[in-house]
Amino acid sequence: MTTSKETRLAYGEALRELGKERREVVVLDSDLYKSTHTALFRDAFPERFIDIGISEADMASTAAGMAACGLIPFCNSFAIFVTGMCYIPIRTQIAYPSLPVRLVGSSSGLTQGPDGASHQSLEDLALMRGLPNMAVISPADDLETRQAVFALADWPGPAYLRLGRYPVPRLFGDDYRFVVGKAARLRPGREVVLIATGHMVSKSLEAAELLARDGLDAGVIGMATIKPLDETAVREAAQAAALVVTVEEHSIIGGLGSAVAECVAEMSSAAPLLRLGVRDRFGESGLADELLEKHGLQPGGIRASVLQGITRLGKGKK
């Protein structure tokens, strides 16, 4: 594996690069630019950067007005604030008229860590996924993040991009091309298919290795786009496997697990589904790795849940 990188940093670097190519890209931040790494864009293009201050709702509405005049604004804060503090402006002024504003949620999930529940985002995917017109994207590594940033420059409607402050290894080869709405089949495997997003893609790949040692053939799909969901990839997995498992650093309500559940529920015959994530609880202070461990989202915890799941739910397997 190559050196690990946080997706928030990969984003900051990609955004600066995008700013060189696209004059219509503007960036708004709400007093977190050193953490979100939009300071990189600010230093390169100060005339297209606004630190709006600690006022996320004002940021979202301001960005909507800019988008209505032909700009492509990227709005930045921690994931729970950029979705939760400005939910109604996003809904009324961005999603409803389908304006091309990009909401970028940094330090998402449990791995925000010591700051605790107020700063951890376990409901942000649910909030954004429920909005008509909104694309929801949660990349797995630095390369996919970079490609998502460039893909979003040309995405016609609004989008939510979910990023983390947890180092993740490079998972994709240089020939990988991220496309909005397309899953990445990262590891073949027919008995169990793990469908993961964000940080949980690398964790799921490690879990699949552990499961292979247990004699279980587990595949991994990286689902960077949670909406529009790649339903073809989900159906294919649910038809072939004995068990489908979703893995996300988010509540099991409303995020990837729900999206996959909604898809398989409308199939005449599908593998049972196990949803791994945070089980309808708030987070708490702790180190990122401690929190992932506690919620069963480290490779060992994922492995254990899959083994239990295949016994309990798996179609005539193991």
Partner: protein, 282 residues
């Protein structure tokens, strides 16, 4: 600058606007009479005196923008857009009907001439700031006018956006407060004190003028005055009467959003039409 004949013409147009507002608010459905009528003179002055706006080309990039932040009063804007030809007057009675382009609150993606979506209160001034910032970045010289309800100022986001406009010296932003003294259920000041309004806006770094929001000459004069503040956003606090022009609605909180009987609607139409006839006789 206005001439006396301009003012006569604008007053006639305001009377016509009120006729259109009442006419489109058909009986049998709740409508926001009060705030649409209190804003009628302000909206008239913007569309037919102040704004650089070409109805034949409503997408002209250099046009001045009008944001109805108090989105429930959008019928006043629909009426103005019909009077200037962006909308067909025949479309107005479809207000709030199923499959209509004229939604109960502004939907920019459905209705030609609308510049933004509002309805949830408190958001329009931030949006106006965003347009002004975009104008600066894109090198365009348009101005952005934003009509805010007095009760709407109870939303905290208004003050976030007031600070943003001052910080960025958005001289192209004009906030107009429709000070009609009533919100949905009660007096605007009943749940939160709204005064001293002039001092509040001034303390946020705005140039402020307070006027009678039904005095057409004063409205036009105040709008012209905002051009003289290139380094500072301008606020016009317009003292108005909710339901202005329809005597049984004036000052009545119950006409914030209510349906009227056929009989009451006829009476309102008669009063609005009589006012128009009086103006046309001038």
């Amino acid at each position: 600058m206005t001439t006396p004949s301009d003012i006569v013409r604008l007053k006639q147009m305001a009377a016509e606007l009120r006729c259109k507002i009442v006419a489109m608010m058909r009986p049998g459905k709740a409508h926001h009479f009060g705030g649409s009528l209190s804003a009628a003179d302000l909206v008239t002055a913007l569309y037919f005196y102040k704004m650089r706006y070409d109805p034949k080309n409503p997408a002209w990039p250099e046009r001045d923008r009008f944001i109805m932040s108090k989105g429930h009063s959008v019928p006043a804007q629909y009426a103005a857009l019909a009077l200037c030809g962006v909308l067909s007057p025949d479309e107005l009675p479809s207000l709030k009907c199923l499959n209509s382009r004229l939604q109960g609150h502004p939907a920019m993606h459905l209705t030609p001439g609308l510049e933004g979506c509002t309805g949830a209160l408190g958001e329009g001034l931030s949006y106006a700031n965003g347009m002004a910032l975009a104008g600066r970045i894109l090198g365009r010289r348009f101005r952005v006018y934003c009509l805010i309800g007095d009760g709407e100022q109870q939303e905290g986001q208004i003050w976030e956006s007031a600070m943003t406009a001052a910080r960025h010296r958005l001289g192209s932003v004009v906030a107009i407060i429709d000070r009609n003294r009533l919100k949905g259920m009660d007096a605007a000041d009943s749940s939160k004190p709204m005064e001293p309004m002039t001092e509040r806006w001034a303390s946020f770094g705005w140039a402020v003028r307070r006027i009678d929001g039904h005095d057409m000459a004063a409205i036009c004069d105040a709008l012209d005055w905002t051009d003289t503040n290139p380094e500072q956003p301008s606020a016009i606090i317009a003292d108005t009467v909710k339901g202005k022009g329809i005597s049984f609605m004036e000052g009545q909180p119950s006409f914030h959003n209510s349906s009227v009987s056929e009989e009451k609607h006829r009476a309102a139409m008669a009063e609005a039409s009589a006012a128009l006839a009086r103006m046309e006789a001038v």
